[in-house]
Symmetry: D2
Subunit: 133 residues, 4 copies
């Protein structure tokens, strides 16, 4: 799965509310994907930093694409669990989201997602389990 088809997948399968994040596929293949989240004021809360809800939504979205790239294409799946830790605030600049599959089983897939601010430092970190349907 290449960048173009991953970007198209992003438009086709996710909820309209999630697509508002305007995530941009930068790199995709072999169970790993990198997305860019363009900074946008509508994603920041009262303290002026990107809100945690955005990181969780971006992490989940990125992992669906990473798993699809590992499987050679999209296949119905469902998130079993997603754990996110919030590490540093981002008050300006884009966020880079890297999702990678760490264990692909027959039914369950496990992976991690790193979200880095414009300084390259971790803003959030997530792990997740998906069930293939």
């Amino acid at each position: 799965m290449e960048v173009t088809s991953a970007q198209q997948l992003l438009q086709e399968i996710f909820a309209p509310w999630v697509r508002e994040l305007n995530l941009q596929v930068q790199r995709c293949g072999g169970g790993e994907v990198e997305l860019r989240l363009p900074f946008d004021r509508k994603l920041t809360h009262v303290a002026g930093v990107i809100c945690g809800q955005v990181y969780m939504a971006a992490a989940d979205t990125a992992m669906v694409l990473a798993i699809s790239s590992a499987l050679g294409g999209f296949r119905p799946m469902t998130t079993v669990a997603l754990n996110t830790s919030f590490l540093r605030p981002v008050s300006d600049g884009d966020v880079a989201i890297t999702a990678r599959v760490l264990r692909q089983g027959k039914n369950l897939v496990y992976g991690e997602i790193e979200l880095a601010g414009p300084d390259g430092k971790l803003a959030a970190h997530a792990t997740t389990t998906y069930a293939l349907l």
Copy 2:
């Protein structure tokens, strides 16, 4: 903190993108809050069910209000971690989100969030740790 002031807080402190969820405060007080998420097609993904990203965002939002109600008002805080498990799909009808504080420490607060579909069954379950600033 009553329902009206909790609803007002919801409008003031959360990101515009989160406010699009249109969460409605039903009950608030003593470290527990109940919100209603009105069903909306823009929150559903390709399979026609409410997407996981919505549950995580609603859970995080509800807990900020629950903690504020325990503290007697809003106070700067930050989500340290939020773990969500996705249990049953919701393809129609509103979701009831109940957040409650389980442990309020001096610096850290721990709580859980139940998200139930219109049949009253758990659609998702989350636990979370916040740091008071």
Copy 3:
């Protein structure tokens, strides 16, 4: 599954190292189990409180019994994930562990575990996902 058979199961299926916790089944049935962890100095670390490793091990053990009680008997299963939060130290007295199934699917089971100190307050809280084999 009654208390006696749950206690026997505890002796038969868990690792010898886990059995050293000397967990005692207090109540068992309908997807919920309560165990008692007798206080023991060999379970405490340098600060004189029960160490976190004990809570995680007890939580995992309790949930296997809770799921078995929901299924009407033991069946091969594997822990997919277990998330634990540590809330209050216990420096003396027994710990009560209550595990309950929150969602029993065909392949996956989700539940939560409360661990309370002798004062009845939460010492730790865990959530977990199991796969039935």
Copy 4:
């Protein structure tokens, strides 16, 4: 902090029950530590594989040493939360546990732990938050 002092710390601060795991420090420094868990039948459950409780206990233990190495020595701390996913069974051979600090804040530290079987593949993966006291 070198290997010898980390090994000594392991003997001094952990509970006797945890020390029975017989963890061996292989490498230590700069916020990262590697331990070896010698295979032992008393750590296996009825299916003949190392039980999940062992992985969680080893992960927690390793991270205390990793944080101590980042701080230049042991300092009182407490585990806030530890999330573990179980990925592949290990039925024989030692387990390598690598813990690393991903974010060291003033009060909170976040890190991840990889547990690999003798084939070098991930057997379990954990993330954790500690509070410095």
